[in-house]
Subunit: 332 residues, 2 copies
DNA sequence: CTGAAAGCGCTTACAG
DNA sequence: CTGAAAGCGCTTACAG
């Protein structure tokens, strides 16, 4: 019967029919466990979300990318959120039970916010894994991890350049650089500003963890300190949304007086008027790339892959416009 | 060795030590498959998201609830998005490979948007399942499915009553009732209005699928047709957000001139000024309840559970206020 | 308390 | 082309 189930070539048509008839009659369903035991593989990968309160849209899109790649194969995805302390030694981390088995999952995709100690713990039990690199905090010491990232720094560079190309010269950066990813974005901004011989100005410290609120506050401070400002690059869409709100309260028009660029290309972009220009990080591609890399590793155990960095894409929308518009408005 | 691993009582301390030493030395990790084969159970449940483009926040919260309940047990969750046609017969639906096995998953939680044919297909292969009931479209014919829902109708009733209690008499409902869940909410609104001898008015048709846009349009139409309107109940937070935007453009103050209630208690509630009063549906509790019911079923095979309906909770915020404020403002 | 054996339900050479 | 047997790596009575 096994041969019928697995489409073995050497089965006579008649036998095949008979067996399939019996299968139907008996409501037979094969045992996945027994098959896996003898096959030695599980066709299961694990998507681990670390240190996040729940699966927000950003990571849901990554998971979606993983899923859409994986769905072309026979693999399936186990979803596990975990949390752990950054400081504790690897051996003190309690790994999810399921990955402590030798053959329950073939490999792991590690998303969420992660620290080197967790990766070390995975190394210890020799589970093949791929990391979503952008939210890694701290360096992985001596070895190159297999990671997929998108280019925060390049995205911010592009965003800034977009404003420069529109004629802006007085461009601020608003975003709390205590967050590592905001720091990379800030660096991209700095490089772009310096490449174009402009003077950069910024607000990178924040009392609040609420990025929307930070945005509103920061833009009013920026305008106060620098009434000539015509454009801002923000740490993410939430900050940009806050900026939009702040501008409305101040009676400043976007983009006529001030152009605003967000980052992450979230749903927030469509909640402002006009919609936000933003940097899309293509989360689904990131997820698909994680999945691809992991499957490559599974087929080629022990092999190390270089970090793969996906480029971002600026999506121009109504929140950014040529600087002349702003001047005309100011002159009117 | 097995006895050591499974903490069998009758193992001498010395033997235990020796065995664990060997386990460490050899980097031994047990085989999940072999154990499951002999145990006969998988400790795996499957979270199926039907007919959705991806895991949005609403369902992510349900999944989170499932997860947080399940994490107190030894179960794990396989995540599978699927899509199928509502009209085709059950036998024509391609079920995810994994649940066609007899012992790969112990049970299934069905979320997303679902139709009776899919449930029938699950019945056919005798997989224990629990359905998230609110997004079921069409009735399940002769038998009671095991489902968990929240009370849309009651939530809308409560929202409307909240406005009545604040003194509002001219309350509109805005929401496209082509969507079944909006229809239930509309019914709750109607019942509340009728219970308080008020005349209800509404806009329940829409050309656009964009609820934000619908909200903006609808509120301006409502005001045009009925300048006396002092409050609106909306289909969900997106509609309410659109209403807020529309009000700003019209120069109408919220809540001073018009009070607004949203539904779902999403992140949007904090994006308006002031924040939206909304009806929380406690997604995580819904998820946890699905998980609890499914595990109950697994322990008690064949048992049918009644649909469990969880109550919603009105979360009052700044977008609703007493009607007197509005009158005072109008008089000023 | 512990060793040795049976058995879970498959797949896959091995004979015929 | 197909039947019968070995073996995957565990758990759990069964002896001792």
């Amino acid at each position: 019967m096994s041969r019928v189930l697995n489409n073995h070539p050497s089965v006579s048509e008649e036998t095949r029919q008979r067996v399939q008839e019996a299968i139907r009659l008996l409501h037979y369903r094969p045992s996945a466990q027994a098959r896996r035991l003898v096959k030695g593989s599980t066709d299961t990968i694990c998507f681990i979300l670390s240190n996040r309160e729940f699966l927000k849209t950003f990571h849901a899109r990554i998971l979606q990318g993983v899923q859409s790649f994986i769905s072309t194969t026979d693999y399936q995805i186990i979803y596990i959120p975990i949390s752990y302390q950054p400081q504790i030694p690897p051996s003190a981390i309690t790994l999810p039970r399921i990955i402590t088995y030798r053959d329950a999952v073939d490999g792991v995709i590690v998303a969420g916010t992660n620290y080197p100690n967790f990766l070390a713990a995975l190394e210890e039990i020799r589970v093949p894994y791929v990391v979503f690199g952008n939210n890694m905090i701290g360096d992985v010491p001596d070895r190159r991890v297999d990671a997929v990232s998108f280019d925060e720094e390049g995205g911010a560079y592009e965003a800034t350049k977009h404003l420069v190309d529109l004629g802006h010269r007085d461009i601020w950066f608003l975003g709390n650089t205590a967050l590592p990813w905001f720091r990379d974005r800030f660096n991209g901004y700095l490089r772009a500003v310096s490449d174009h011989d402009l003077r950069g100005r910024w607000i990178t410290e924040s009392d609040t963890k609420d990025n929307v609120q930070f945005g509103s506050l920061a833009i009013s401070q920026a305008i106060e300190r620098d009434p000539e400002v015509t454009a801002v690059v923000t740490g993410n869409d939430h900050v940009a949304y806050g900026v939009w709100k702040g501008l409305r309260e101040l009676g400043v028009a976007m983009p006529d007086d001030i152009s605003v660029v967000g980052f992450d290309d979230t749903e927030l972009c469509y909640l402002t008027d006009p919609p936000l220009t933003s940097v899309s990080v293509h989360n689904e591609e990131v997820g698909a790339e994680c999945a691809r890399m992991l499957l490559d590793k599974l087929h080629d155990p022990g092999k190390r892959f270089r970090e793969r960095v996906l480029s971002t894409e600026l999506i121009p929308r109504g929140s950014t416009g040529p600087v002349c518009t702003a001047r005309a408005a100011a002159g009117a």
